[in-house]
Structure formats: C-alpha cells, structure tokens
Assembly symmetry: C2
DNA sequence: GTCTATACGGGGATAGAC
DNA sequence: GTCTATCCCCGTATAGAC
C-alpha cells in the first residue's frame, strides 16, 4: 500500500511534476506548455501524471498556491508597524534585502515569470495577486510610512503614493533582472541596483539632512 | 487589379487582421490565439487570411512592429536634452502626460498587455524592447536629469538611478491600471495617480524648497 | 503507480474552385 | 481575394494490462 507510507514515493513524483510544470509555464506559459512535455520532463508518461493531478489545470492551481504562499511574512499588527517605523531606513533596508534575495533566487525567479505571464491572462490569478500580495504589501508599507512621518523621520506626504513609488522602483528592477535572466545574460549591472534605489529613495524623503 | 489601387480594399483587410489579432493576443497570448479565431473575428476564412500573411508568426511580427513604433518620440540631440532640462518639472510633466495618455488609450492598452505577456516568453521581443524602448528612454531621461543637476534645479545624485526610479513608478502604475482594465474594473483610483507620483518624485529631488 | 494504446477535438496550413 | 474541403500534427484525457 504505497499511499500509506510515511514518506511515500508518490509525493516525490507529485512534487517533481509541480517543479517541472513551473519551469515550463515560466518559459512557455500555460497554453504553451503541453502535458506531454511536463510528463517527459519528469520522466513518466502522460497517463501516469493523471494519477497525481486531476487535469492540467490542477497542476496550474498547485503552482499558483506556491506563488502566493511565499510572499513577505507580514505581521500587520499596530505594534509591528510602530516597531518597523522606528527603525527608519533600516526597516526599508530589510524589506529591500528580502526583495533582492527573491529576485536572485532561481526558484522565485521562475515563479515571478510565471506570475507575470499569467497575471495578464488569468482573472483568478489577478484576484489572488491583488488580495494576497498587493493589498497586503501596499497597506503595510503605507502604514509604516505614515508612522515614520509621525515619528518625524521622513517628510510629510501621501503614504500611499510613497508606498507605490517604493514598490514601483523595486518591481521595475526585478522585472529588468527577470528579462536578463530569461536570456541567461549577466545581471551584474543590477547587483547593487536595489541598494542604490533605496539610498536614492531615502534621500528623497528623509528629514535629517 | 485590386492590388494596384491607391486605396485598395486589401489594405483594409490586412489592417483588420492585425487589429483582431492584437486584441486576441492581448487576451490569450500568442499560443492561446488560433488563426481560426482571428479569421472569425475579422469575418473571413482562415485560408483567406493566408493571402495577407505568410503564417501566424508574420502577424505576430507585424504587431510587434506596431508596439515599438509607438514609443515616445525622442530627439536625443544635446540641444534637445538641454532644452528639456531647463523646463524642469514641466518637462517631466509632459513626459508623464504622454505616458498617462498611453495608459488610458484603449489601443495602447492592448499593446501593453500583449507586450508584457510576450516579453516573458519571446527572446526577439525582449531584444527589440531593450534596444528600441528601454535603452532609449533610460538614456534620454538620465541625460536630462544630469543636465538638470548642472542647472541647479535638482539635487545631485546618480542620474541612472534617478531615471530608473522615475520610470519604475510610472511603469508600476501602468501595470496596475492594466490589471484593473483586464477585469473591466474601474480605474478611478488611478485617475490622478500619475500626477501624484510626479509631485512626490519632484519633491524628493527639487532643490528650491 | 506506471505502462501501451487509443479516442477525439483543435490548430496550422494548403489545394483548387469561384 | 474569398470560399469549401481536406491533411496532418499536437494536445488532453481515458481504458485496461502489468
């Protein structure tokens, strides 16, 4: 009874299928990826694949879950926001570093491309993205910026606009890195881009100068 | 002899094919769009379509040309850069306005989604994008920023970082608008987003305060 | 759980009549 | 230039043996 083992081999296969599918989706998109190719990449037949997933869409869903379950771990409590704000630039630094790590991590990179491709085509993915990533991050960030203003650390301005400007910079850098990586080109020009962007941003809002 | 008329009807059909294809590509991606559907949208048979384009890819190419031939009209001469720089915020305002118009224009909007989808999957498109859009815009923008610094209009900083930060903000807003439009949702929250982003950005770099 | 074999629909493309 | 008819490949999915 293979399905009752503590570490069954089936789990390994299921995981392998997800990994293979993610790579292919990131490369060719959902429609451009055939079940045959996924199976071939795993090293099994298509029919065997249907023992692990009901159909192609089920594989897609499994991967979207992965994409959303690796966001920034956000503690949205008032205390956490206050504590973050008090750190000033150091908080943003930490945020940027997390973002940077994700940008250069090979697996997250695949997820990013997958997300960008499908975001433009899949309404469900857009909904999940907005609720489980964008809303949370922008709300958290703008709350922190607002708190920083009250602390007198940064100049007074619209916190939402500030948060969007901050995210926009990071996102744009990440996109450019992604495009370079897609062609297996060097990302050296961007090795310090995140830090530079943060420094520039902070100089634009900091009060102690 | 229909192909020799000054305003031949064939041109109309060819154009119609491109338009229909662009809408479908923006909605379903290249692979997700069948020649049959394009033909159906135009109101002709697939076979008739092959009188205008060699194959499906030729339609794709025609559309990418469109996407690249509608960038910002850039005069990269030294005089133009100096003149632009002297205008200060007014220059950026004009730039932002152009960007905004494109974001809310229905046709440009389709092109944008098309571009985002295919950029992640098509090496040729990436190359074209980098050479014919990104390089030109970032170079022009950073040159203008550099000139502005020399004019004493803005604080001194890395012009490239500044240009990327500026573009990043605009791009991020545009992306969010695009996602809303994809679901036919109201873009009201973004009606003044570009202006607000510019004001915020300018406050962060302007020297007269 | 994996295999072989197969059904079935859709997609790209062409031939030839009008 | 457009049509009908057709070819062949590829993609998803299932049945049934091992």
């Amino acid at each position: 009874m293979p399905e009752n083992k503590g570490f069954e081999k089936g789990k390994g296969t299921k995981r392998k299928i997800e990994d293979a599918a993610m790579e292919l989706f990131a490369e060719y998109g959902y429609k451009g990826t055939s079940v045959r190719k996924i199976a071939a990449k795993v090293g099994i037949r298509e029919s065997a694949l249907y023992n692990h997933f009901k159909n192609k869409e089920a594989i897609f869903i499994a991967i979207t879950e992965r994409a959303f379950n690796t966001p920034f771990s956000q503690d949205m409590s008032a205390e956490s926001i206050q504590a973050s704000a008090k750190k000033g630039k150091a908080f943003l630094q930490k945020y940027v570093t997390e973002f940077k790590l994700m940008s250069f991590d090979r697996n997250s990179e695949k997820l990013f491309r997958f997300l960008m491709i499908e975001l433009m085509q899949n309404p469900l993915l857009r909904e999940g993205f907005e609720k489980r990533f964008r809303d949370i991050n922008v709300k958290f960030l703008s709350s922190v910026f607002f708190a920083m203003m009250q602390e007198g650390l940064i100049r007074s301005d619209d916190p939402m606009v500030m948060a969007d400007a901050f995210m926009g910079q990071l996102f744009y850098i990440r996109l450019n890195i992604s495009l370079l990586k897609a062609d297996s080109r060097s990302t050296a020009p961007y090795s310090t881009a995140f830090e530079k962007a943060l420094d520039f941003f902070w100089r634009g809002i900091a009060l102690e100068r």
